[in-house]
């Protein structure tokens, strides 16, 4: 399931999948020379069935069970929003906490397989305050991976993008290798000149990290419970390898809200 900010996780129900209702239409012969309405409308049963497909999305239900359970009476639904009018002499715009990134090529399996994650998710997984207390596991089956691939998610990018994403990829690999014994990491990405100059000599010395100058093509799982298969090209040749966890290097973007503010204030984001 594709992750989007602020979304409820939707459990697949008994009625999934259910066909979307098709609008009945008059035939092409009936339309010729006539201005009769083409779409004839749903019959009642179809309309009701279609309406019943609605998931009625809602996050907090407002059931107030938390309020009933809270002994120190900290939960208070009557706390109002506050509207503040503020004046400043100087503004500094930073990216804030929302980590936006450019869409990832759908061939790379992000959103399809639970064990294809972003570098941002991996960063949280590695963090001591993360949900697994820093334990590296595959969200697909909860097992500790043996082979991890860190792959470039955006082949089009400038030198800066490649440099910072490669450094992050190497750093995450260093951490993962430190945490897990008997593991190997492959980093597959086009390598930019500035990385080669500044970091390659040190990065290549890291044991069990294999830096492959190539381009990831696709990620797939052909059989349930089998590892993921990464297809990539290197020196004009297509190669395939199995991995237990795939980490995609993302291309950061400034979130919509921050960039709107930056435009409004005519000021760059730090």
């Amino acid at each position: 399931m594709v992750y989007e900010k602020g979304r409820r996780y939707i459990i697949p129900f008994d009625d999934v999948p259910a066909d979307r209702a098709e609008m009945p239409e008059i035939s092409v012969e009936e339309r010729k020379g006539s201005f009769r309405e083409v779409e004839t409308g749903f019959p009642e049963a179809v309309a009701v069935a279609e309406a019943k497909r609605c998931l009625s999305c809602r996050r907090c239900l407002g059931c107030a069970l938390c309020w009933a359970e809270c002994e120190p009476e900290a939960i208070d639904f009557s706390i109002p929003d506050e509207e503040l009018e503020l004046d400043f002499d100087e503004v500094i715009i930073t990216r804030g906490q929302e980590n936006s990134f450019q869409p990832i090529d759908s061939h790379l399996g992000y959103g399809t397989y639970a064990d294809v994650i972003t570098d941002l998710q991996f960063e949280r997984m590695l963090s001591p305050t993360g949900p697994t207390d820093g334990l590296v596991v595959s969200p697909f089956d909860g097992e500790v991976p043996r082979r991890i691939a860190v792959i470039q998610g955006n082949a089009e990018g400038d030198e800066d993008h490649f440099l910072s994403s490669l450094v992050l990829g190497v750093n995450e690999s260093i951490l993962a290798l430190d945490r897990i014994e008997d593991m190997k990491v492959a980093l597959v990405s086009p390598i930019c000149q500035s990385f080669k100059k500044k970091f390659s000599p040190d990065a290549e010395k890291i044991p069990d990290l294999d830096i492959i100058e190539g381009a990831p093509e696709s990620v797939e799982r052909t059989q349930e419970e089998e590892p993921l298969i990464l297809t990539y090209s290197q020196d004009g040749k297509i190669k395939k390898e199995n991995f237990d966890l795939i980490v995609i290097l993302t291309k950061p973007e400034i979130s919509a809200e921050i960039s709107a503010l930056s435009q409004e204030l005519e000021q760059e984001v730090l």
């Binding site: 609605c54 809602r58 407002g62 059931c63 107030a64 309020w67 089956d141 500790v144």
Partner: protein
């Protein structure tokens, strides 16, 4: 006793102990001495039926019908019809049910645990206010929306109870739990991390490549 006092957990418990069918007969809507007792009864039975259906029970084993205390013959008809129905379904966990014995009894144990849980009991009780006066924010639900919300909670809560039940037998890995309970492992992983967050489950250790989880004391 008013049908509105019926406890869903007791209903599930009765089936767990081998009951083949349960017919609840309440007063007609509008005739309730306590005003809405029968409406609540129907709502409770509906939700209980959903939970039991989820556990693999044929939903026709639990019914809600209405008649007044003066209608002896109607009552007799209701009972004989229901009796006939249950006879045709056969014993619990047989051909009439999706899940067979003895697995169904284990599933019913989970259903009982889910129906005992605070979450489902609380939400069942919210039906009337949600549909008529609104939730804590004053938002009124349609019936469809309320049913959707309840369904979602039933599915999730049942699976959570299954996982907790599995861990009660001993520490297990995500993969192991997923296989035993027939829940997709990626979802078990999410349930487990969520339970960790709630301090209900903790990592016991890593066995080879498998992190193993246990219930917290």
């Amino acid at each position: 006793m008013c049908t509105g006092r019926l406890d869903p957990a007791i209903v599930a418990g009765a089936f767990r102990q081998g009951l083949d069918g349960l017919l609840t007969v309440g007063c007609y809507f509008g005739d309730c001495h306590y005003i809405t007792g029968n409406v609540q009864a129907k709502a409770k039975i509906d939700i209980t039926r959903k939970v039991l259906k989820h556990a693999g029970l044929n939903e026709e084993r639990l019914a809600f019908r209405q008649c007044s205390s003066g209608e002896a013959s109607v009552f007799v008809d209701l009972v004989s019809q229901f009796d006939e129905k249950i006879h045709s379904l056969g014993p619990l966990g047989g051909a009439g049910d999706r899940v067979k014995a003895p697995e169904i009894f284990k599933k019913l144990e989970t259903a009982e645990a889910a129906l005992t849980s605070e979450k489902i009991r609380w939400v069942i009780g919210k039906r009337t206010p949600f549909l008529e006066t609104g939730n804590i924010y004053g938002e009124i639900f349609t019936e469809h929306e309320f049913n959707r919300a309840v369904e979602m909670i039933i599915v999730e809560e049942t699976q959570v109870q299954e996982i907790l039940g599995g861990l009660k037998e001993g520490a297990r890995s995500v993969k192991d739990l997923a296989k035993r309970l027939d829940i997709p492992p990626e979802r078990v992983f999410r349930y487990i991390t969520a339970l960790q967050r709630k301090n209900l489950v903790a990592l016991q250790g890593v066995n080879g490549r498998s992190p193993v989880f246990q219930l917290t004391a």
